[in-house]
């Protein structure tokens, strides 16, 4: 089975493939691409009505690597939210999957991110969060841990921005967190997000093999001293195998990264009520204190009106309206002119 199984649209999993990835081998982002296409397949998403949206960064390149039959817009750095807002208002029959990085979202695009969430634009907003700028070679982003060190960027002296908490505070209607190696969890969160009406933010910790490589980062690989001595140039990238994890709801799991570093993941269980905003804040604040990465669906509000709903537009997407619905009649012009002074 597997390879020849078709979904409700009669498509094979392979029909959801994109182009070959040009990211570093072992990059967390690749795992996420795989899960997106897998979840889309399982969910029988109609690719012709999907738009893949992104900014700039290694993460933002990934829409090229999945769902090749969907339109995609790789926009500019940090501005995917506004572009997607425009797209969804004029064609609300589309399903938007946005992919961004922590730099793209937490730094240059922070304001757009917050305002998009506040507007509850219908879309799935995936952040491939590695705490660094991968594409520009390893500088810290705003989600880098306080005190974190990497060999390229030194030590980070600023507190990390928690993008889930930020989304929550901006009245996000779906907030989740996961880890790139947790295929099953990502898939189930994605499928829930695909079914959500408003903005679904999924912040996925996704280690950068190449640059986020000091032991004391929650998002990192550790490279031994020995290696660092030999490698004093950025020009060399050591490929890695993907990390995979699989653990139970309510449990925590320490994940050893390739080179010795650890992250502690903790999966929310049913005792957490994701419809309670106050408790969602509490869970995040608690995780912050304990330095664990809480994963799972943190918050969901199925009632909040979306931007499209508030716009009270025609059921037919605006882009599909015929000319006679867009250009009022000559009589209407005469009417408008007659209401002017004249």
């Amino acid at each position: 089975m597997g390879r020849t199984k078709t979904n409700e649209l009669g498509l094979l999993a392979a029909d959801y493939n994109g182009r070959p990835s040009t990211l570093c081998p072992g990059c967390g982002h690749n795992s996420i691409s795989n899960q997106i296409q897998q979840a889309a397949f399982e969910h029988s998403l109609d690719q012709h009505f999907v738009v893949k949206m992104s900014g700039i960064g290694c993460s933002s390149k990934t829409p090229a690597y999945f769902m090749g039959r969907s339109h995609a817009f790789n926009t500019i750095h940090g501005r995917m939210p506004s572009v997607t807002t425009g797209v969804m208002l004029v064609n609300h029959h589309l399903k938007a999957i946005g992919v961004s990085g922590d730099g793209d979202t937490g730094n240059i695009g922070f304001s757009q991110f917050k305002h998009l969430v506040r507007r509850n634009v219908p879309m799935v907003y995936i952040i491939e969060n590695n705490g660094v700028y991968g594409l520009t070679k390893g500088q810290f982003s705003a989600t880098a841990d306080y005190g974190q060190k990497t060999k390229y960027a030194g030590k980070n002296e600023l507190p990390a921005i928690d993008l889930c908490a930020e989304a929550l505070l901006a009245d996000c209607s779906f907030v989740a967190r996961s880890f790139s190696g947790d295929a099953k969890q990502i898939r189930s969160l994605l499928r829930a997000a695909f079914s959500h009406r408003g903005t679904a933010v999924i912040d996925i910790i996704s280690p950068c093999v190449t640059f986020n490589d000091a032991a004391d980062s929650t998002k990192s690989y550790f490279w031994g001293k020995e290696h660092r001595e030999i490698l004093n140039e950025v020009g060399f990238v050591r490929g890695q195998e993907d990390i995979a994890v699989d653990y139970e709801e309510g449990k925590s799991q320490d994940v050893q990264l390739h080179d010795g570093g650890w992250v502690r993941l903790k999966k929310l269980d049913e005792s957490h009520d994701p419809t309670d905003r106050t408790s969602a804040f509490r869970v995040l604040e608690q995780a912050r204190k304990e330095q664990v990465i809480i994963t799972g669906l943190i918050y969901i509000d199925q009632e909040r009106a979306t931007l499209v709903e508030n716009a009270r537009i025609t059921d037919t997407p605006l882009v599909n309206l015929p000319e006679d619905q867009l250009r009022p009649s000559k009589a209407t012009l005469d009417q408008a002119l007659s209401e002017l002074f004249g």
């Binding site: 690719q47 012709h48 009505f49 738009v51 829409p63 090229a64 090749g68 039959r69 969907s70 339109h71 995609a72 817009f73 790789n74 926009t75 500019i76 501005r79 939210p81 506004s82 572009v83 997607t84 807002t85 425009g86 797209v87 208002l89 004029v90 064609n91 029959h93 589309l94 304001s111 757009q112 305002h115 507007r119 931007l307 716009a311 009270r312 537009i313 025609t314 059921d315 997407p317 605006l318 882009v319 309206l321 000319e323 619905q325 867009l326 250009r327 009022p328 000559k330 209407t332 012009l333 408008a336 002119l337 002017l340 002074f341 004249g342």
Partner: protein, 621 residues
């Protein structure tokens, strides 16, 4: 200014007794936020209905309340509609600028001012004007206003009606038309109309009883003139919005900024009025974005998805839109951006007009970007470009900037009634699922099939397995694939240049006005048109100098501009900015003729005026 107690203004009779009819200007000096706009527009509208060509210019400060504001009304029987910097009749309620306002009058000018305190704040009753070569009329603003017993909060507002009444009497403005104008302004609501018109009448009657008309300026109805017949009055920003509504605009995103906000605000109200389906659902969406970066991003997204989308902004917004419009240019996404130009650099003077964004906008975006620009000159063109800009944007698959300015955008102008678009919308080269079916799924997003540099696109949501393509601001090949190959890059940029050449012919062609035998010509664009027409008439009439005229409507420049200028010894490029920006662009595009281009440029916040243009042409022969 000496301050003495003075009950009577000096009223020396200075004029020769000749009446100057329908050929002079008023200036009304007040402070903003006091409601004088209602009064000023009322006077303007009344004149208009009398058949008298009258042009209003509002010179207002960049704050909300209490700073000096001047409203100019030029009355001109020959229908010259440009701004005149000289006003003969001053009406002032503004104590703070009294001295400079008086000083600005010509000998024989007129000054109308309060004899008591309209706002209760300033001691008008103890002021002595500094000149004795002008006519004065003093009006008891406070006293008359009080008679109406207005709500305390509205006193300052209502007080403006006093000068309307006095002016109506002194200059012979039809009271019936004033009432009509007020009725229009207040949407027919009886109470405010009667309250306001009541005071106008009171003041009119007071003036009749107490003032002796001693100055030479008169308005006279022109019942047979056609200048205002069948015409409307409208602001450029409203005309633009209305045009866009009839252009089928589907999406608007904007961020407030003077003087562009009223484009969006007019859109909002026109769309609400005219663009719902039978069930009352909107056939458009409009979003107030969090800033200009988001506004432009949203319309680029909407344009990419296939909608007619637009924004309106001014200088600072244009600066902030540079990166996104560069993307739209390179990824070939339609979008319409109205720039209602104000004075820069930087925040500059937000409430003063200018044509200072020409070069910057044309090259907006780093790295060899070229943007399409339209240049409306009047209300008809604001309306027309309102809809036509979408046709060009979608046809050319590129951002289209419409560079209006504060003078056009925020002043009431007389206009012909707008013509309904004469052709169906041009939605450009879009392949549908059926088209793709026919093509057997064979197409390439950036392949120049038709030889015009314009390629075919598909929209997201096209139900065909080959419809999708990957849009990017990075280098790409014909199939929209990422490419760092030299040939791919080259082919693409060459095609884009070719597309811009297609644009040169497709976009509105220059308007040319030629006389036999003219050796010199003026080239200009936009709101300068009124002043240039007038200057050309004067040059002929006063100096027997024939001057031809070409008005540019779009960038990149049409080859016709090059052909035209080749025919003259000297070409004056007239514009309202510091640098002489259009002259610079012409030097770029027509280097062979560069030596004969004379830049006539000025930027002081006011629209250009005929006398200045004339003097420049004469000086620099």
């Amino acid at each position: 200014m000496t301050v003495v107690d003075l009950q009577q203004a000096p009223a020396t009779q200075l004029h020769s007794g000749q009446r100057i009819v329908n050929d002079f200007s008023f200036v009304v000096a007040t402070t903003n936020g006091t409601g004088s706009q209602t009064s000023n527009n009322t006077l303007l509208r009344a004149l208009f209905k009398m058949g008298v060509p009258a042009t209003g210019k509002n010179l207002f400060p960049s704050n909300i309340y209490g700073l000096p504001t001047w409203f100019y009304i030029r009355v001109n029987k020959d229908n010259y509609r440009a701004h005149r910097s000289q006003a003969e009749v001053l009406v002032t309620y503004n104590f703070d600028t009294f001295a400079e306002d008086i000083a600005a009058l010509p000998p024989g000018g007129v000054c109308i001012y309060p004899m008591d305190a309209p706002s209760g704040k300033k001691k008008w009753n103890v002021v002595t004007p500094s000149r004795d070569d002008i006519y004065y009329y003093r009006i008891p603003v406070d006293e008359l206003t009080a008679t109406m017993n207005p709500d305390q909060a509205l006193k300052e507002y209502i007080a403006n009606m006093v000068y309307v009444g006095a002016v109506a009497y002194l200059f012979n403005i039809d009271m019936g038309e004033i009432e009509r104008a007020l009725s229009y302004h207040f949407g027919g609501k009886a109470k405010p109309i009667s309250m306001n018109f009541g005071l106008v009448k009171l003041a009119y009657d007071w003036a009749k009883d107490n003032l002796q008309k001693i100055d030479p300026y008169w308005c006279e109805a022109m019942p047979d003139a056609t200048f205002t017949k069948d015409k409307i009055m409208i602001e450029g920003n409203a005309a633009a919005a209305l045009g866009a509504v009839f252009g089928g605009v589907q999406f608007v995103a904007w961020y407030p900024i003077t003087p562009s906000s009223s484009v969006a605000e007019n859109l909002q109200s026109y769309l609400a009025d005219y663009r719902h389906d039978e069930e009352g659902r909107a056939t458009y969406a409009i979003v107030q974005a969090e800033d200009e970066l988001a506004a432009i991003g949203m319309i680029v997204g909407a344009g990419w998805a296939g909608a007619r989308s637009m924004t309106a902004t001014s200088g600072p917004g244009i600066s902030l839109m540079a990166e996104f419009t560069g993307l739209a240019y390179f990824a070939e996404v339609p979008a319409v951006i109205w720039d209602i130009q104000r004075m820069g650099p930087s925040t500059g003077l937000p409430t003063r007009t200018s044509q200072g964004d020409i070069i910057f906008t044309h090259f907006l975006g780093h790295g060899d970007t070229r943007q399409v620009v339209l240049l409306p000159a009047n209300m008809e063109e604001c309306f027309r470009f309102g809809w036509e800009a979408f046709d060009f944007a979608e046809r050319l698959q590129t951002p289209v900037f419409v560079l209006s300015d504060l003078d056009l955008g925020m002043n009431q102008h007389v206009s012909s009634k707008f013509e309904y678009p004469e052709r169906p919308m041009d939605r450009g080269k879009v392949l549908t699922a059926e088209d793709l079916q026919k093509l057997g799924g064979q197409w390439a997003r950036y392949k120049d099939v038709d030889g015009d540099g314009i390629t075919y696109r598909t929209l997201p949501g096209t139900d065909h397995p080959n419809a999708a393509y990957f849009t990017r601001g990075t280098g790409h090949n014909e199939n929209a694939g990422y490419s760092e190959k030299v040939e791919d890059w080259h082919n693409n940029l060459k095609r884009l240049a070719h597309k811009m050449n297609t644009a040169r012919e497709l976009l509105p062609q220059p308007v040319i006005q030629q006389n036999k035998g003219a050796k010199i010509a003026i080239v200009s664009y936009g709101s300068n048109d009124y002043a240039i027409q007038e200057a050309i008439d004067y040059l002929k009439a006063r100096h027997d100098l024939s001057v031809d005229y070409l008005r540019i409507l779009a960038l990149p420049l049409s080859p016709k501009v090059g052909e035209f200028i080749n025919g003259y010894d000297r070409v004056y490029v007239v514009e309202n900015n510091e640098e002489g920006q259009m002259a610079q662009l012409m030097r770029m595009d027509f280097p062979q003729k560069a030596p004969d281009l004379v830049s006539v440029a000025r930027c002081n916040g006011m629209p250009l005026d005929a006398e200045w243009i004339l003097s420049q042409v004469l000086e620099r022969k």
